[in-house]
Symmetry: C2
Subunit: 366 residues, 2 copies
């Protein structure tokens, strides 16, 4: 190549992917997975009304670049103004825009060691300097995060509540209390992707206008629309407005906007889905216990299972499941990587988990 | 806001949008448009097979981050390798990634004055320095573009063939000939969004591996899937691979991938659509002539109409159409902005154009 005059930053970056997709693994193994339990998708799917709305929408038209109707409905749902809300191509897309707005060469950012890799990917992608603190008893720890933010003068501090990959959570009120130690010069990026699956009181009980925090939400989890790529952020209008400086204004799929709106408006279906998720969580915990493993408490649509030993043991169990057609994932960093992470599945998928887990453990014990 | 520690670049950028969407205009006027002829969409819509494929796809799953099946089919279609192809969230999304990879503070970029504003938006968004050359007889002019690129040592040179907003085109072979003057250190960004609507011989007749150029294609125009947001780029594998450093790997809507694949595989429907587009182009030209205006030759799915006077006159006609429920757009820059731009519409939409244009012209003449 003669013409590859990439920026110095782009030259320094690896051609990487934060997660290998299940389809890539399926192509490598030459067979599809029988149970897709690795990506924290919602196997129960979106509301039939969302499916109808998507089918009805004429895909020959570009989507509304303002996502006006969806933002209006979200504002009503959250009791705020549409000016508090930006809609984007999943939380991943919004995190990318946010990092781009704030982070340049060497700018300090804080997260937990082993938290969401795609956030780290964006920070690296814009040249930021990532500082980490450890999990405390399988929870991300607001106190350590905010102390580290003060120490390094972080522009952004990432916290997921509930947490992925451990499934743990804090009460929203406890985070508000901890925010007394959030430095004034640091913006809290609160990823609430799983909050609809969590106990009452987990969502941050602060007004949307609070300038200290931006909250990330998604239709990919509880609403069952991962394939549609619809996320949104809630924050101060001044911050929300900054997204218009850099975002792909016509990037939102038209049917996806309509599907998300219809899904939001079908709260009965949504509640039924939450019940199915809770039932699946209990079943996964039972299966783990029946096999001598320890399920961690979960406030999400997955259950993280402590395999009780080291990363090699957990990885061997994971490989044993994958080889038997059960797609699961595991945390990246010690000590969390003693675990595997299993998404809520249909009863049939969880039957297959129950059927294959003993053999996977036996393999790992060899 | 206390926390808005944006980068100096982000602070300097306006909160802007390259195009105001028709929905925004509809909300402002309190009524929907009866004829949506302003965004160069394809009113004839996608193949029924694409619609079926999108409806069939389970939206609870994330899309394949490799867009493997679509890339494989595109490679076959273009006679190249899947490694020559990257799929992204429309050409807009891909242009954003490309500019991000190449352009940092003050890096020189060349385009034509009045060419695609979204490319300019991305260049500004990454701090690039944009240099322009004028159109020559309503054509983007490769010779001036490449001479300017040599003069300023441009990293990227943008050329759309066929052109938007003028609808003009060059033979691909003539661009190859002109590329003898393309500086070795400049990458040609050839936007072929409309090339399927153009005469035989318009597409660049160079192998996908040629490192001097990256070509942009889309399913938004001839394939009728603007709402789905599926674009792709064809280029040297070394360049294509660089996109994996920065792109939103899980950004592609799952149903959109399936829809684009099905649309590509239904070439009969595609050919029928091209015929409808050609018929609509002729009708628009007739309507223009019947009203004493001059339609420019078009190699696209729109017709640019020379209103014969200045920008005020053209703008008055445009406003007259919009006020009568006909959404159209116009070029941004003189001398092109003596024109209005009308997308191919259904016969009913073009009847409305024929009905309203005389009154719009009468208004403009007051």
């Amino acid at each position: 190549m003669t013409n590859l005059r990439l920026t110095p930053l782009a030259q320094s970056l690896p051609a990487t992917v934060p997660f290998v997709g299940p389809e890539t693994q399926e192509r490598a193994r030459g067979a599809v997975f029988d149970a897709r339990l690795g990506a924290n998708e919602n196997v129960f799917g979106p509301s039939p009304r969302a499916i109808e709305a998507m089918a009805r929408e004429g895909q020959w038209m570009y989507g509304d670049p303002e996502s006006h109707d969806l933002r209006a409905a979200l504002a009503q749902h959250h009791g705020c103004s549409p000016d508090n809300i930006i809609v984007g191509e999943g939380i991943d897309g919004l995190l990318g825009y946010l990092v781009r707005l704030f982070i340049g060469d060497g700018d300090p950012v804080v997260t937990s060691a082993g938290a969401y890799p795609t956030f780290n990917y964006h920070v690296a992608g814009f040249g930021g300097s990532l500082h980490t603190v450890p999990y405390v008893e399988d929870h991300e720890d607001p106190a350590s995060l905010f102390a580290k933010a003060a120490e390094v003068d972080a522009k952004l501090v990432y916290l997921a509540n509930p947490d992925n990959p451990m499934g743990s959570h804090h009460n929203g009120a406890d985070i508000v209390e901890a925010m007394k130690a959030l430095p004034e010069r640091s913006l809290l990026v609160l990823d609430e992707a799983y909050v609809e699956c969590a106990p009452e009181g987990t969502a941050l009980p602060l007004p949307a206008d609070d300038p200290r925090v931006i909250r990330m939400r998604t239709f990919s989890k509880a609403y069952g629309l991962a394939g549609a790529r619809v996320g949104y952020a809630i924050g101060h209008p001044g911050l929300i407005k900054a997204f218009h400086k850099v975002r792909n204004h016509f990037g939102m799929n038209r049917a996806a906007q309509a599907g998300a709106l219809a899904a939001l408006q079908d709260q009965n279906y949504f509640e039924e889905n939450l019940t199915k998720i809770a039932t699946a969580r209990e079943r996964i915990a039972e299966i783990a216990e029946q096999n001598g493993l320890t399920p961690l408490p979960s406030a999400t649509n997955f259950v993280t299972i402590d395999c009780g030993r080291d990363v090699e043991f957990a990885k061997a169990i994971l490989d044993g499941l994958i080889n038997r057609g059960v797609f699961v994932r595991m945390p990246f960093v010690a000590p969390q990587n003693r675990c595997i992470r299993v998404s809520c599945g249909t009863p049939q998928m969880l039957d297959l988990l129950a059927e294959t887990l003993p053999a996977a453990i036996a393999d790992a014990n060899v």
